[in-house]
């Protein structure tokens, strides 16, 4: 009997199961913790590995990297100003096209213009737009889009050639077609986030505006879009981050010319496509310089993405 008494107290302490199970339980918790921790470690090591790889180039070029427009593997002279310019301009072209289209489509999808079933299908199609691999957009861009933009570019140059942005004969690949493909690729982000921010507005706002005698579109322009504007801005920032980091479609379409040119009909280059193009065959200081460029790209997208995250969270906090 004393035996069973002691085993009873034992039961209360361990649940009557083997110590192994308790160890297992703790072990499992620690395992999940370690994996969660590893996400942070991966992020940090991405930054460290690229910074270490870039170190020789950083030592060699320092901030001169940002003022030099030459990228010359033969003389081992490297500067990123041309590709930074290309990255920013191609992304801006993408945003100029995608913002009005995306916000317009988001409004269309968030209002009850169409029956629910059709809306579901349209939303799904927009998701598909985001799912198509970027290399497929690149292929399509080479064989379908570039011939079209070349015709359009020739017309632009012919009629508006005095304008610096159109001051050159289109060469086929270039900033313009790349910007267009990038706009297609960022549209789903802008649409999805704008739609979410419009949909998460309290229905009271719409009712209040309609109750005051505003029409549907007056309500959209004067109340709904202003109220959702920070969410929409967050989506635009995310889209900018995506456009700047987008590699394949840009590489295949932009023409990979490291010469700085104002005309958007000229070939150009982005940081990402420079890396994609040269990395596999690079050696020595060139690898380091490419990593330096990668570091610049990472910082740019990091800043943009963190800003976007901050803005989007700000909005969530406001209405919850």
């Amino acid at each position: 009997m004393t035996q069973s008494d002691s085993s009873n107290t034992d039961n209360l302490m361990t649940g009557g199961r083997s110590p192994l199970e308790k160890t297992l339980d703790n072990g499992f918790k620690w395992l999940t913790f370690a994996f969660a921790l590893s996400i942070g470690l991966i992020l940090i090591s991405v930054a460290i590995i690229i910074a270490v790889g870039a170190f020789p180039a950083i030592k060699q070029f320092n901030f001169g990297f940002f003022t030099n427009s030459n990228w010359n593997p033969v003389t081992d002279e490297y500067g990123v100003i041309a590709v930074v310019y290309g990255t920013i301009v191609s992304s801006l072209i993408a945003l100029i096209i995608a913002i009005p289209l995306g916000v317009g489509a988001a409004v269309f999808l968030s209002e009850d213009f169409i029956p629910d079933q059709i809306r579901t299908v349209l939303v799904f199609l927009v998701e598909l737009l985001a799912a198509i691999p970027s290399v497929v957009y690149g292929l399509w861009g080479i064989f379908v889009l570039i011939p079209i933009t070349t015709v359009f570019g020739t017309w632009l140059h012919g009629n508006f050639g005095w304008f610096p942005l159109f001051s050159s004969e289109p060469a086929g690949p270039g900033m313009l077609p790349a910007g267009i493909v990038l706009s297609i690729m960022v549209l789903p982000i802008i649409i999805a986030i704008s739609r979410d921010s419009l949909a998460s507005l309290p229905p009271d706002l719409r009712q209040a505006s309609l109750g005051l005698g505003a029409t549907r579109w007056e309500t959209i322009f004067r109340v709904l879009i202003p109220a959702a504007i920070s969410g929409i801005m967050g989506g635009v920032m995310l889209a900018l981050g995506r456009a700047m980091g987008e590699t394949m479609a840009a590489t295949m379409i932009i023409g990979n010319s490291n010469r700085l040119s104002i005309s958007i009909l000229d070939p150009a280059n982005t940081i990402a496509s420079l890396i994609a193009n040269q990395f596999a065959e690079a050696s020595g200081l060139q690898i380091s310089a490419l990593m330096y460029a990668g570091l610049v790209l990472m910082l740019l997208t990091l800043i943009v993405n963190i800003l976007a995250e901050y803005i989007v969270n700000q909005v969530k906090a406001k209405y919850e």
């Binding site: 309609l210 109750g211 005051l212 005698g213 007056e218 004067r222 202003p226």
Partner: protein
């Protein structure tokens, strides 16, 4: 009935309201008098808010909403095909259950209705008059440029009333305007309603029977009855002067409800 001698703003005749295939309200006949405060009372689910919202066609926003019978406003059928719901809502303003200022400045909130309706005269003056009428002017005159959210709940609701008045409606509908407010704000809003009825016809939905006795000239009591499995249909039991509804109702169920012996 001597009521029919009065000027009616709204006349509801045999109104049935459906959401999809569910009938929510049946056979409502009601005349709402001009420049009086009319209260809708009744248990939840009795359709009083639904009826209120069909007076300015705000139910249009619900796609499954359907209405039968007729609702006329000064003799014009509100649900006729050629009626512009935007025009209707401009004439018939609404104050909602929870204060719902726009994420704009106090000034822009009040000016909103006037702006969308192309108001040509002095906006500053309109904003001031409206805020004064809503008894909010003294509290906000120094911070018109601040966000409407910076006000307290009671102030926000008065801001919403000012916003409604500024759109220069003929009727103000109020859907439980005090249910989210503290007692002091509630009293302020009730006093405000008394002043407003000089110029406006007011229809208020309220859960609070004391409120109905304090503010309303006329009271309509709605009730709900179960039909089929779990669905309820609301109907108008009795409509009369408030005093009569609360002291000497003609229906037993009204008496049970107002005396708190309900269910």
């Amino acid at each position: 009935m001597e009521e029919s001698l009065r000027n009616s703003v709204f006349e509801l005749r045999d109104v049935d309201i459906f959401y999809g295939s569910n009938k929510a309200v049946r056979e409502v006949n009601l005349d709402i008098p001009e420049k009086k405060i009319t209260a809708f009372i009744g248990p939840s689910g009795c359709g009083k808010s639904t009826i209120l919202r069909c007076l300015n066609r705000l139910n249009d926003l619900i796609s499954s909403f359907k209405i039968k019978g007729s609702v006329t406003y000064h003799g014009q059928n509100l649900y006729a095909k050629d009626i512009d719901p935007v025009e209707v809502r401009k004439r018939i303003g609404m104050v909602f259950q929870r204060p719902n200022p726009f994420p704009k400045t106090i000034y822009d909130n009040v000016a909103y209705g006037a702006r969308v309706n192309g108001y040509k005269k002095d906006l500053d003056e309109l904003v001031e008059t409206s805020l004064r009428r809503a008894v909010l002017w003294d509290e906000v005159k120094d911070k018109l440029g601040e966000s409407g959210f910076s006000l307290s709940g009671g102030q926000q609701q008065r801001l919403c009333i000012a916003r409604t008045i500024a759109a220069q409606p003929e009727v103000v509908l109020m859907d439980e305007p005090c249910s989210a407010l503290d007692p002091i704000s509630t009293i302020k809003i009730e006093e405000l309603m008394q002043e407003l009825k000089e110029n406006y016809t007011i229809v208020i939905v309220t859960h609070n029977m004391q409120q109905a006795t304090r503010v309303a000239d006329m009271t309509a009591f709605f009730n709900a009855e179960a039909v089929g499995k779990g669905s309820k249909v609301g109907y108008l039991v009795e409509f009369d002067e408030t005093d009569k509804i609360f002291s000497n109702p003609s229906q037993q169920s009204t008496e049970d409800y107002v005396s708190g012996r309900f269910g």
